[in-house]
Symmetry: C2
């Protein structure tokens, strides 16, 4: 159904929530607080935060008063970054993600190249939106046609 996983959906919400707190880059938020703010169960939040950390979007700090913080500015994190980490490579069809030669129909497939074009547009749409734009309530995104 061309739907992304709930994990990725949650991930975007969590990242947006962190960014919206407008904390300095080095200020950390722990999983428990995020769970409450985003209304997502704590174990799930933890799982997502760990993945985002491994993916390089967050930095973590262990121990008491530990937590997570954005690894870079909200304006330099895109929706595509988040989804790719949590869901793997984004692609509408297998053949847009699989390595060249993986599909035996490749040479004669009537839809291969059109799919690549559509896929590129989808990627652009996801890459074109940063966390910063997402939380900036004064942005003009919604007014665009």
């Amino acid at each position: 159904m061309i739907r992304m996983s709930k994990l990725a959906d949650y991930g975007v919400v969590i990242m947006a929530t962190m960014a919206r707190e407008r904390q300095p880059l080095d200020a950390t938020v722990n999983a428990r607080d995020l769970s409450e703010k985003a209304h997502i169960p704590l174990p799930t939040v933890g799982k997502i935060l760990k993945a985002l950390c491994r993916g390089g979007l967050l930095v973590s700090h262990r121990g008491p008063r530990g937590g997570y913080a954005l690894a870079r500015l909200a304006s330099e994190i895109t929706v595509l970054d988040i989804i790719s980490i949590l869901d793997g490579p984004v692609g509408l069809t297998d053949c847009t993600v699989a390595p060249l030669g993986a599909c035996e129909m490749e040479a004669t497939c009537p839809v291969r190249s059109p799919w690549h074009m559509i896929n590129r547009r989808v990627l652009d749409a996801l890459r074109g939106l940063t966390l910063h734009e997402m939380i900036d309530s004064t942005n003009i995104l919604d007014k665009r046609p």
Copy 2:
């Protein structure tokens, strides 16, 4: 993973194959031939053809020498049409498809409106490609940046 179902993927291939035959609108192709041309198992092709027929994209003809034909010109059938019929409403997140008020976070959700914008772009990309453009090997789609 933001991937559409195989059924929808097959559906697009099948429709493109039918359109590529460049047969007149009333000429029918049966499921068996399509199965061979598209390299998809016959039962699966049958299932997809039935669904596309119910969805109004194909017309069927029973009995010996029966089969299926496009219900309208290839230039008037979009990729979005095909996917919607086989996979249901297209939407990256549940909240872009669910009726208003279905999500309790709706009022305060930090990502709701950005998602709607991204979703609109994805829909546009899918709606912007017709079956005719897809099979027209001389089209300029691939050359676009």
